[in-house]
Amino acid sequence: MPPLSAEITRRAALGTLGAAGLTGLGLAWPRLTGRDIPGRGEDVLTIAILGTSQDAAARQDLVAAFNEIHPDIPVRVQGIQGNDWGDFFSKILTMIAAGTPPDLVNVATEGTQLFASLMAEPLDDYVLRDAAELQEYFDDVHPTLLEAFMYEGSLFQLPTDFNAANMYYNVGALELAGLDRPADDWTHDDFVTTLRAMRSANAADFVPYFWTNRLFGGLVPWLYVNDTSFLAETKAGGGTWFWDRFYPGEQRSGGYRWLEPNADDPRVEESVEFLRELVADGLGTRPEEGGGGALVGLFASGRIGTTPAGGYWVQGLNEAGMAEDEFDVQFFPRWRTQRHQFGAAGYAIMSTSPRKDEAWEWIKFTASRDGMELAYPLPSTTPTRRSMVNEARYAGKGPRHWEVFYDTLDRFPTTGPIPAPPQQAAVETALIKNISAAVGGSASGVPRALANLQRDLTQALGRTA
């Protein structure tokens, strides 16, 4: 045995170490259990948004203004990260699975039916109850946007921001190609001509057309202008309670239905083949290359000619160093139609929430003009209120033709939402993987990829989400 004194010293040392460890553990306990997260586990209205905790903190003004009206409703905005809406929804589903669902979720069109069918509370009673108060909101917001948030005759969200897939272009690249701003009713052939001119006038590492391989900004705009879609689109009945009350004279439905796959439509093949040729001819990039920061950075550094995007891009391009006259926006080119695709977002109340009345107050507040001004101080998205899409918003930032953003809704009344049935995740997966295979491959591969898409969609839609 070691000498007694050494034994004692060692014991003391070990004891000190152990005590220090336990103290450290005690100090870290709030971190380990998440109790130091503000509002965690307290009786507050929890609102999940897609974004970082910085984005959540950026809504502090909004929360403060809300609390001036409702000092008795404590609010916690929780930023949930994701690369896209699909990522975000899966995190919300994980929160439900984990037994910690939020009270409200900021949901985009991509997820509206997923939430409506599984876990969101219809707003019908609330809307009718506070109809007088809300009339001013509906007067200012295009009915097309509301119809996207109807599901089987009920309304689930009040849209607060939207973005249609318009076409951004790099002014310098266009001028280099010796072209003027395209006409409002330019066709898809004009579009290809423009890309070719850009191609030959610009450097080798320049990409005339860049797209994002998501539901938004990817294939669907090219399907809509070709008067088709990869899902058969029908409308639900009902909803007259809403339209008659707030938009008298509008012939609108109880919401979109995407029940059947439609990938075997020859026009779908026509659109996909069109995109495939763009890639094969070196006019467009492969779909997976697009998306996120890389796209903004590449566009701002002048290496992209055109890309489909909505009003949300202005702020990003500005921050990446583009001046107001260096980029501009035009309607999506016409093919058989000039039907545009849009995405929109608003808050949905979770049906599990014990604070539904408070949650409704939040929805009303974010739909109010004050709320929207606070929520969207910058052109990082397009507010749904027509009166807010104005000169002042885009002053000094561009684009010159910012009217395009709201005009899209007025000029093309059939403009529709991103096709997103309740089985959105499986549908998006099927779409992305098969379209990327089709667009990246040879012409002979297109029919097979679309047959696979049809098969995958059939399976996806047959599932119960």
Binding site: E7, R10, A28, T52, T94, M95, G99
Partner: protein, 295 residues
């Protein structure tokens, strides 16, 4: 697959000529070093590129040709990392998770390893076989029930959800058992004769001697969990509970980042602790990784 190459050695043919002529050309000494140098360059190349590109200004980060030596370093990407993600919190979370797991594994593995190596009890072989058998089951297979379990005990979306299930370690127990088996038996016998009980014999004789083995367990746990991605991806919902790898991937995805150099700056920052482990703990880490074969 490779097993067919492993037939036992046939006797060298007696007729083999005693010249330096060979059936197949083999590289000479200099060529071999060149091959090794190329391999080393391919291994280090991406790392060097990461560091140098992280020192380019965000606007230049897309520009080709690539730079491998940062001639005009620009530290603004690093500043931007700190603006975009809470690097301090990410690091704290990673450190807490890995630290508690490592210490927890060292302690529990030492105890269990000692029991399996030096204590007699009924069913010892059976228990040990059971522990060993779980080594083969990947965490992905059990992730759904573990998720439910975590929900059941109210630890959803906490760091403890990452820590608790990772502390019991079959591999660490195996390693510590081997380690204790390698320590001389006589020390314990002498202690027994002196009247020391099981706990005394363990705590004052064997545990101190087994510290190097425990260090191996700790460093292995650190290396694995510091870099872990799959479980945090599922268990960490709030950004406040993100660990470094998760934070970095989200740095890449956050809209508006627009710059490779910022993402790479984050990668470089997250590499620093791993580098420290590399410098300090390379030997025990190597020993631990190869421990399965050492006998």
């Amino acid at each position: 697959m490779t097993a067919t190459a492993l037939r036992t050695a046939p006797a060298p043919r007696a007729t083999a000529p005693r010249t330096r002529r060979r059936a197949l050309p083999t590289p000479s000494g200099a060529t071999r070093v060149v091959i090794l140098l190329v391999a080393a360059a391919l291994t280090l190349g991406p790392v060097v590129w990461t560091i140098s590109t992280s020192l380019r200004s965000p606007a230049e980060s897309f520009t080709l040709p690539p730079q491998f030596i940062p001639t005009d370093p620009d530290f603004s990407p690093y500043a931007q990392v700190f603006q975009q993600v809470n690097m301090g919190l990410l690091t704290l979370n990673s450190a807490l998770v890995t630290g508690v797991i490592a210490v927890g594994q060292m302690l529990t593995a030492a105890l269990a390893g000692y029991a399996f190596a030096r204590l007699e009890f009924r069913g010892r072989g059976l228990w040990f076989a059971l522990v060993l058998a779980t080594m083969m089951v990947p965490v992905q297979v059990t992730i759904v029930p573990i998720f439910m379990l975590i929900r059941g005990i109210g630890l959803s979306d906490t760091l403890l959800a990452l820590i608790l299930p990772a502390i019991p370690t079959a591999f660490g127990t195996f390693l510590m058992r081997q380690y204790f088996l390698g320590l001389p038996l006589e020390l314990g016998e002498a202690a027994s004769i002196d009247g020391a009980g099981v706990w005394r014999t363990f705590s004052s004789i064997y545990a101190p001697l087994a510290l190097p083995g425990m260090a191996i367990v700790g460093i292995l746990a650190f290396n694995f969990h510091w870099n872990e991605f799959f479980r945090p991806l599922i268990f960490s919902i709030s950004e406040q509970n993100y660990t470094l790898p998760l934070g970095l991937v989200s740095l890449q995805g956050n809209l508006g980042t627009g710059s490779i150099s910022v993402v790479l700056a984050g990668v470089v920052l997250s590499m620093i602790p791993a580098l420290v482990v590399f410098v300090v703990g390379q030997r025990p880490l190597r020993a631990g990784l190869t421990a399965g074969v050492s006998k």
